[in-house]
């Protein structure tokens, strides 16, 4: 089903990219956790009062006085949505479309492996890489909280947040992967694979503004992840299920098309 050789090669080839994104996340994680001041709530609340609309659009809502609330506001409103999304866009494009575009896909297809196997292996790389990114985020938040604010983090809720975020990113990466699978050049792969997720993200920002715009939330996949709801204890099963179904559909269609279509290499 998967090619271990190809998997190892891809993970090795993309370790640099992964490291860069881990750096970026680390920077934000430490900053946000550091900014938390237990008694006066978060530093965010002051900023949010200053520029309510801008902050609302960017997903920063008043976080309350808990550390998990502050983390949810500071990280899970934008950073942990944006950063892995950009990572998925780049990696998904590299894994299929870039090989087709450059012609090196010919070498992979000239080996006795079915196209489905090759595409599934590339998909696995994406799932594992995103998994590493989200797991790292979770662990980094736990560690930095333990150092700066020992005993104040609700770890259970943090894990729950990250489970949903992981599947959100798997679903979003499905868009990127599908785009990569159907494209002969990286230009097309990027315009679809980056375009749609970014539009979703912009719609999400508009929907965050509230009022009539709230209805826009039905037009974006990001609605399926709501940090405050999860912290408030809302059941995540339905949202995760929908995300998984979306992911299976997107990846399934991508791999199917890739296995059948003409590949001009």
């Amino acid at each position: 089903m998967f090619s271990l050789t190809l998997f190892k090669r891809e993970m090795k080839a993309n370790i640099k990219l992964l490291t860069i994104f881990i750096y970026i996340l680390t920077l934000y994680i430490f900053m946000i956790v550091y900014m938390f001041t237990p008694n006066s709530g978060t530093g965010w609340d002051a900023i949010i009062k200053l520029m309510p609309d801008v902050m609302k659009a960017a997903g920063f809502t008043a976080g309350g006085s808990t550390l998990i609330g502050s983390v949810a506001t500071g990280l899970y409103g934008m950073i942990v949505l944006m950063v892995p999304m950009v990572f998925s866009i780049i990696l998904a494009n590299k894994l299929i479309a870039s090989y087709v575009d450059r012609g090196s896909m010919a070498y992979l297809l000239a080996t006795p492996n079915k196209r489905v196997k090759i595409a599934l292996t590339q998909a696995l790389c994406l799932w594992v890489s995103i998994g590493i990114l989200i797991t790292y985020t979770t662990v980094a938040i736990i560690i930095s909280s333990a150092i700066m604010h020992p005993g104040q983090l609700d770890i259970g809720k943090l894990v729950l947040l990250n489970v949903v975020v992981y599947f959100l990113h798997i679903a979003i990466s499905g868009i990127c992967f599908l785009a990569s699978c159907i494209s002969n050049d990286t230009k097309r792969s990027f315009s679809i694979g980056a375009g749609i997720p970014i539009v979703f993200f912009l719609i999400q920002m508009l929907a965050n503004l509230g009022g009539k715009l709230t209805n826009l939330k039905y037009l974006t996949i990001f609605t399926l992840f709501n940090a405050n709801d999860i912290i408030a204890g809302k059941n995540i099963v339905l949202n995760v299920s929908v995300l998984v179904v979306v992911a299976i559909l997107l990846y399934g269609i991508g791999i199917f098309i890739f296995s059948k279509r003409d590949i001009p290499v």
Partner: protein, 296 residues
């Protein structure tokens, strides 16, 4: 038995691009050449054989297996050298060869090492920094290293220096002796002439002719440019010999097919200052095949 079988293959890309109603078969143990100008449809045909693209109409078979549907099985006994070189730039040459070997499930790396030796390839550097010729050598190693029964080679000697081209032709001939079936496209007539049993000529996606190489090389004309001492001699020779293609001052051009003795006997009577031999080039031969149409 036919190892490669192309039946009424049609793939229309519009604008007269593609291949049209192509019928070809390559027998076991045969070296089959595939000649044609750029954009004639050589690579398109090869892509069909590799199962990269699927026929609009028609079918392709290798060893009786459908190239479109069973390419993963076909690849086990097939070596392929793409026309365009594109590897994974982040790897070194050796890493790439080893990676492809693993993807092909090769346990025995000795043949690969032999090939690396044979082509005097230093595969330790990063592929990104390699010259076209070095990359081509890596491609050749990847195509031959699992000792496949069938080889599909798209312009295999492009980028190689003359010495290495020679090495490559030796490799082809030794593979031919081992009974391998080889299908190779080329622009290089000499290369085809030295290795191939039969050659197909394709133009604008259509098969022009399939020729036995012996017959094809007989058709290859030689022209002699003879410089006489005086113009009078030149004109009198032209009258005597008859089959003269052109005369410019004291220079006469003569085409000879087959026996050269009559020409030599005739020349004996004249004083000659120079004799040039021009062997018909591939392009000139193409002109013949294309029946004088434009585009060579």
């Amino acid at each position: 038995m036919n190892v490669i079988e192309i039946k009424q293959l049609t793939k229309d890309y519009g604008n007269k691009k593609g291949v049209f109603d192509l019928d070809l078969s390559v027998k076991k143990g045969e070296v089959f050449g595939f000649l044609g100008p750029n954009g004639a449809g050589k690579t398109t045909t090869i892509r069909h054989l590799m199962g990269f693209i699927h026929p609009g109409i028609g079918e392709c078979f290798i060893n009786g297996l459908d190239c479109s549907k069973q390419s993963d099985i076909i690849q086990k006994s097939l070596g392929y050298l793409p026309g365009e070189i594109a590897f994974m730039d982040d790897l070194s040459g050796l890493q790439f060869i080893k990676f492809i070997a693993e993807m092909k499930g090769i346990k025995d790396f000795s043949l690969a090492e032999e090939l690396i030796d044979m082509f005097k390839l230093d595969p330790s550097g990063k592929i990104k920094k390699m010259s076209k010729g070095m990359k081509q050598k890596i491609g050749i190693v990847c195509a031959f290293m699992h000792n496949p029964d069938i080889l599909i080679l798209d312009e295999p000697t492009s980028g190689l220096d003359p010495l290495m081209q020679n090495k490559f032709l030796e490799l082809i001939l030794s593979e031919k002796e081992k009974g391998k079936t080889i299908f190779m496209s080329s622009h290089n007539f000499e290369e085809i002439e030295r290795t191939c049993d039969r050659t197909a000529i394709i133009k604008e996606g259509r098969l022009v002719d399939v020729e036995d190489m012996k017959i094809l090389s007989q058709r290859k004309q030689k022209s002699y440019i003879i410089t006489f001492l005086t113009q009078e001699m030149a004109s009198s020779f032209s009258k005597e010999y008859g089959e003269v293609k052109g005369r410019q001052g004291n220079k006469v051009t003569v085409y000879v097919k087959g026996n050269i003795m009559p020409l030599i006997h005739t020349l004996d009577k004249y004083e000659i200052t120079n004799l040039d031999v021009k062997i018909q080039t591939l392009e000139e031969l193409f002109m013949h095949y294309y029946g004088g149409e434009k585009n060579v």
